[in-house]
Symmetry: C2
Subunit: 352 residues, 2 copies
């Protein structure tokens, strides 16, 4: 703990600064800086010497000093929400995070991850601290809700921000989503109808979350596009348990649907299990469709038919977008393809 002050000891314990590198290379600090930032013109020979000295001393610019001096932290903030009952990061968000990281890390940009609970009290205070402390150059927000007050706040704080998803109302920032935001649902519904399903149920999630609202709306619209099709919508908190219960309620009712579409794969899997336990064969008696296309859908029997969204790509796209706002986007804007219906074993022709 106690540090002695003899020059040698101090020397050994102090980490190299730009001044040390400059001294070792026999040049000025500016020269070193220029070499490392590709600015001014430094002769080949000097550049070599400087690089060698830096490597020798294991020096690279202090991120704090760079941040202070140039007002760039070289970090992007990401706020992810977890649902109350699942403590961990939702699988889809994991994929998004991976995509974001894949864009940032080659540019040596850091990803500052914030995990929050929905409806947390200090919501705005949290964003206020985040912006006024200037820890990040820009923010990626996810999971917009109805009446989302974050954007207005961030706008006032002049924090460059991009939303992954679609906002409920216009926001003063860009957002990244597939077009239309509910894409994929139509394919699922059409597939079921093509296979003779007349009565299709949708087990959705909490509609204060815009994504849930959009998905349910897409279901309604898809059903409305076909004559003579009955769509039943029920809303849950997004929890697999509730989805299972709703499934039973639906299947036990007199006018039971022959197909159920869920707002997520976990919900679909839990629903499928409940149906099977209740004596319904999947897909002979009831077809099941999930949403997201998580790997786990392949590990159940029957395998889950689902609307597959490319979370990693979504992450890449939103990362590119915030970097573009900051004027440092690499290459071309990644394209976001519409979710793709993956037909597996859990869907089949409607029973007679």
């Amino acid at each position: 703990m106690a540090e002695t002050n003899t020059p040698e000891t101090a020397q050994r314990h102090r980490r190299a600064t730009i001044a040390d590198v400059a001294a070792a290379a026999g040049v000025s600090r500016s020269a070193v800086s220029k070499v490392f930032n590709g600015n001014g013109h430094i002769s080949k020979a000097t550049t070599e010497r400087i690089r060698a000295a830096a490597a020798e001393l294991g020096w690279s610019p202090s991120s704090s000093a760079v941040a202070l001096r140039s007002a760039r932290t070289n970090a992007i903030g990401l706020v992810v929400y977890r649902s109350r009952d699942v403590i961990a990061i939702p699988p889809m968000s994991s994929a998004v995070i991976a995509g974001i990281e894949a864009v940032l890390s080659p540019l040596d940009l850091g990803l500052l991850l914030y995990l929050r609970d929905r409806n947390q009290e200090d919501e705005l205070a949290f964003y206020r601290r985040l912006t006024s402390s200037r820890r990040v150059d820009g923010m990626i927000l996810t999971d917009s809700v109805v009446d989302d007050r974050r954007f207005e706040m961030l706008e006032q704080a002049r924090m460059p921000t991009v939303l992954l998803g679609t906002p409920a109302a216009p926001i003063p920032f860009r957002h990244v989503d597939v077009d239309p935001p509910g894409a994929g649902m139509d394919a699922a519904v059409a597939h079921l109808i093509r296979h003779g399903h007349i009565h299709i149920a949708y087990v959705g999630g909490d509609e204060t979350r815009v994504a849930a609202h959009i998905r349910r709306q897409a279901f309604d619209e898809s059903v409305a596009q076909h004559d003579g099709i009955v769509g039943t919508v029920t809303v849950t908190s997004y929890s697999p348990d509730e989805a299972a219960q709703e499934t039973l309620r639906l299947l036990r009712s007199p006018d039971r649907p022959t197909a159920v579409v869920y707002a997520s794969d976990p919900m679909a899997m839990a629903g499928m299990r409940a149906a099977k336990l209740d004596g319904f064969r999947v897909p002979e008696d009831v077809s099941i469709v999930g949403f997201d296309g998580l790997p786990m859908g392949e590990w159940v029997e029957p395998q889950l038919s689902t609307v597959k969204r490319d979370g990693v790509m979504r992450g890449r796209a939103v990362a590119w977008e915030i970097l573009d706002v900051l004027g440092m986007a690499p290459g071309e804007r990644p394209e976001l393809h519409a979710p793709e219906l993956v037909i597996r074993g859990s869907t089949a022709r409607a029973p007679k």
Copy 2:
């Protein structure tokens, strides 16, 4: 873009600094600093005025300036590995991240997340950059491998580090794990033996990863503790697909096991599905045991018996530990409880 220089405009566009707050409160900059760091003694009245001024101006200390001045970035780095075939963050790691974040965020410490592929070329260069740029005050490493060279490097760079898991050989840092590191496996094996299983197979993961090695070793030892029990071990890359294949190989062999224990839940689920497709009833013909206790194990039929590890708690514990190293740990060291065997539908008495 172009910024005008009229005082008012400049005023409007410049964000407040400590000097502005000091001016607004009619005090010196140091007074403001003292109030926000709880150092010196500032009178109640002055404190009030300063806080009011800061709130008014929406000021809080610039993290870069604080970092530069005090050599504390108030951020912890976390390096997580993804396997090659799964692009996203492994579910168990998600839970760990959530636990870490839960400890850091109340202290207003940032979590810098790095996602890496195993066997990436620039492994050491990556850590070198990370340490020499001093972006973080400390690092949390996961997923130690045999011949892990990261620790020696980080030690030389004098980067405070903690490992989540158990190292293959002594490391110059603390590590956090349950005791013993293979705990939980014995309970699974004992449970199977108690139910009459004589021949138990273990489908493990790539043993360059220490955790996989330890788990397999724990299986061997657990089997060895009981007389007359046959244990068969096979090793895969950790992928569910391979696990499924191995399962078929095992079950189709003449001396087939009556129970299979897997190194992870996804592997177990994929294995269970393969077994069922091959005509084996679970658990009547073969018992299946997973490892980790992920939520998805409850969404399959039969539900997966598994050794449940508390990822969130592991995250909390390792976060506490690195903070302790940095002298800023809050409260008591969290306790890590041994994984718990959760018996569900996929295990039963061995067939006659």
